[in-house]
């Protein structure tokens, strides 16, 4: 009996509460609030994406600048293979991993002496040392002080302040190609010719 009365009471409340109509003036007020909030949310969303974009771009810029720092060469060391006999007029080509200045063209002033050791692990040291300043200079008349005529089966390495650059064999390259390659940014290969 008690449950039945409760059910009647609940049904009555349910029916009445379902018939509730909101006031007419309320709609205009809260709809304006809704539109205003929506605009603010849209602005926030745009700001968020803009901020994210700026962050990503600045991160990329940082990574790019960090990994593309210029490397100054301090000396060049040439280490030939066992079967190598260095002579004058020998081509030595090298490969630089990365970091060489865009306009780098190697000029070795003066003669390069070949120092042979007893165990035939000869090394070539530049005497006098390679002029580092000249590494970034271009030859005005398009010719290098280094001259060569024949190929060599040798390898060399270029040591810099913070990296060692391997110099390995390569095909005979004409003198003009030194400067062509040097104009490319981040070119990995340059050639020492003498």
């Amino acid at each position: 009996m008690n449950t039945n009365t409760e059910n009647i009471f609940d049904d009555f409340l349910c029916r009445k509460l379902n018939d509730v109509l909101p006031e007419n003036g309320l709609f205009t007020k809260i709809f304006q609030d809704f539109i205003a909030e929506r605009k603010v949310k849209r602005k926030r969303r745009i700001f968020f994406w803009f901020f994210l974009l700026i962050t990503i771009l600045s991160l990329l810029l940082y990574i790019f600048t960090t990994f593309s720092k210029d490397v100054k060469l301090s000396s060049i060391e040439v280490i030939p293979n066992n079967n190598t006999s260095f002579e004058n007029n020998t081509y030595i080509t090298n490969k630089v991993t990365r970091g060489i200045k865009n306009d780098s063209s190697v000029q070795v002033k003066g003669p390069v002496h070949h120092l042979e050791t007893a165990n035939d692990k000869s090394s070539i040291l530049e005497t006098p040392a390679v002029n580092i300043d000249s590494l970034s200079q271009k030859n005005d008349n398009g010719t290098s002080d280094v001259k060569a005529n024949t190929k060599s089966n040798s390898s060399a390495s270029v040591s810099s302040n913070n990296m060692i650059v391997n110099i390995q064999d390569g095909p005979q390259i004409k003198q003009d190609s030194i400067f062509k390659r040097a104009t490319k940014p981040k070119q990995d290969t340059f050639y020492i010719v003498w």
Partner: protein, 186 residues
């Protein structure tokens, strides 16, 4: 009508302001009462309704025509209201340790002449947990186990809150009836 809703849903997805206003009004006229009976005042109810509508417009692309649109929006509104009132439920957990509510019956003649707004006012004046349990049990047809799970309270606690809500509503309706009687006499 459903076809019209579908047209306006597509309009809303295309950022058409008129469609947004139509859909908002459509939901407002039918579902604002849900927020009004869950909250104790009109301001909170409006805020809750707007939050719900932001969710509705944000997830309108996810709506599939596999059910009634109003049912979908109704569920979002109820969930939003419950999320907003959850902190009040925790705070009022100590209510149950109070005095046991007396159960009494009221003749239907006592409250039959009450208007919808008066009854809504009575519901809004209930303690928050009792109001939520009453809404979930009586209006949304949940059972006590489901209510307890939703509000993270025991089944017995849910029953206690429902009894409290009923008793308080009856008291308020009697008081209102008496006031109206006095007003009619003078």
């Amino acid at each position: 009508m459903e076809n019209r809703i579908d047209i306006h849903i597509k309009g809303c997805l295309a950022n058409n302001l008129k469609s947004q206003e139509w859909l908002y009004r459509y939901c407002f006229e039918r579902l604002m009462k849900v927020c009004l009976r869950y909250h104790s005042n009109e301001i909170d109810a409006s805020s809750s309704f707007n939050k719900s509508m932001h969710k509705v417009f944000g997830k309108l692309g996810q709506y599939r025509n596999d059910g009634h649109f109003l049912g979908w929006v109704h569920k979002i509104i109820v969930n939003t209201c419950l999320n907003e009132l959850r902190s009040e439920i925790r705070n009022s957990a100590a209510e149950i340790k109070g005095v046991q509510m007396e159960e009494f019956t009221v003749a239907p003649d006592t409250y039959s002449n009450m208007s919808e707004k008066e009854i809504l006012l009575c519901v809004q004046q209930l303690p928050s947990t009792a109001r939520i349990v009453f809404n979930l049990y009586v209006m949304e047809n949940y059972n006590h186990a489901e209510v307890g799970k939703l509000l993270n309270i025991s089944e017995g606690t849910s029953k206690w809150h429902l009894n409290q809500a009923r008793a308080l509503l009856k008291q308020k309706l009697i008081q209102m009836n008496i006031k109206q009687g006095y007003a009619n006499e003078y």
